[in-house]
């Protein structure tokens, strides 16, 4: 049975994905700002300050909210600080305007009863709109997240790091026992990669409303191929900025009729300046991305 919870994002009966699509159109932006806040990298005026992380996040949110439609909190940076980190994550989440789509970048996934606890963590205890999930453990590790109404599960497809090459690009041939029960999956001669198979199979577990996929910007040329598998799903695209991915290429290969992209930028915005002007510099970089996005949306 589906669990019903109110969304933080856009308090209405509108489906969360539809609200995101409308926000993107209204703002001419598909920018997601990443809050991967490292207490050791706070700008000079906040360094060493009690609650410096929260003060920093609030300043970054104030500075960028007009140019983005989403915020992504990378849970690792908060957990590493223990209790005060979790408190900072909570305060940051509650500060994000309800008009913005909130993502817990947590990459969780475990057996069913444990994934249910993670879903509770990021959809109830910390009421994010979406959470990132790792696919290795298969359907029953993803299913508890999908059981929530009006929440979004974002599954790793093809990641932006070098290690993506270790397993995600492996060629997969043959089928598992379970596939044999689904005739359309049995194509003995098909030659596809693990990430193809993951995306194809995971997509069959949910809908374009409750499922998105992570596809790294550093793999932009693969986006056209991925669009042949999932033309309609939203893609969360990390790797633009510090990691070197190109916004232009990501858009060219990945944009669909609803835009269908959330392009995340973390470090390039957060750490635009280490001085007193960190917030105005962050705003300037975010605005620059928004401006570029608006031009791609017009063409």
């Amino acid at each position: 049975m589906a669990k019903r919870h109110e969304s933080v994002f856009f308090v209405s009966i509108m489906m969360i994905k539809q609200a995101l699509v409308e926000a993107i159109q209204a703002k001419k932006s598909y920018l997601c700002v990443g809050l991967d806040t490292d207490p050791n990298r706070l700008p000079a005026p906040l360094k060493g300050q009690t609650n410096g992380v929260v003060a920093f996040n609030k300043a970054i949110i104030d500075a960028t909210k007009d140019y983005c439609v989403s915020y992504k909190i990378n849970t690792a940076f908060y957990e590493a600080q223990g209790l005060k980190g979790w408190q900072a994550m909570e305060e940051t989440l509650h500060y994000i305007p309800k008009t913005h789509f909130t993502i817990a970048d947590a990459k969780r996934g475990d057996i069913g009863n444990t994934s249910a606890q993670y879903a509770k963590t990021f959809f109830e205890t910390l009421p994010f709109d979406a959470v990132t999930v790792a696919p290795y453990m298969g359907e029953d590790s993803v299913r508890p997240f999908l059981e929530y109404d009006n929440k979004v599960t974002i599954v790793l497809g093809l990641t932006s790091n070098k290690g993506a090459n270790d397993f995600q690009h492996l060629h997969v041939s043959g089928v598992t026992e379970e596939d044999r029960l689904i005739p359309q999956l049995v194509q003995p001669n098909r030659k596809q990669t693990l990430f193809d198979t993951v995306i194809e199979k995971v997509a069959s577990w949910g809908t374009t409303n409750n499922l998105m996929f992570v596809v790294g910007a550093t793999q932009a040329s693969m986006l056209a191929h991925i669009r042949t598998i999932i033309p309609e799903h939203f893609l969360l695209v990390p790797g633009v900025g510090f990691q070197g991915g190109s916004l232009e290429q990501v858009t060219m290969y990945g944009k669909n009729k609803e835009v269908g992209l959330l392009v995340n930028v973390s470090r390039a915005i957060q750490y635009a300046s280490e001085g007193d002007d960190f917030a105005t510099e962050a705003a300037a970089i975010a605005k620059q991305y928004q401006f570029e996005m608006a031009s791609y949306m017009a063409s």
Copy 2:
């Protein structure tokens, strides 16, 4: 550069794995007790009590410590409770005797700079001896954990849940670009599963001292095969008890000359009784597992 931190487990210069091997021999037990504590499943005397989770965990630890060599804390159950959950996890970890090997069952894994934060979380902020890690994102997502001296990274190999069949059992053929640089991996006609490839490749990133693998007890017949790939690594084996795995079969197929197994039991011990006798019943079940293990170690 390797980061140096003192181990919680066995305060000495002895390598952590060697200490574990000696504890197993001394206690005639390779039992790991799982602390997947759900506040809604506390026994009657602790239900609704402030700090009931910690009181329960302490009672379970007191009751079982003579029969096990390790405790595994499932982070999801604590995170779901937010701040007070993290506090309970911290208190529980610090209560575990230093003679026992402590595992954060967290299944983390992300790009390098983020995995470094997770490693800090579970090796420094919460000083566990070991943490479980998901392999999908490849080498740079695992490497930051391996950089810690005298800590153990436990990577998912073959899991105990039904969803293991979705991707882990897929046949992998062909090689990635990177494999071509390592001649011994290029065997064009090899036919192996994804979990084979994961185990083989991850094993090459570390040593038998700093790496272990998760192999589910429900996959006992695969253990003999997995032992041909990694004869010497320790395996963390969940799935005995509630999930239906057989201790006898796990031992028969998985035991090596150092035993090389940590068999985890969570629910069957934690929830042995819902009444006043929950601790004595937990002790009885743990003792029963230890007794069975001693008999397998003797033969």
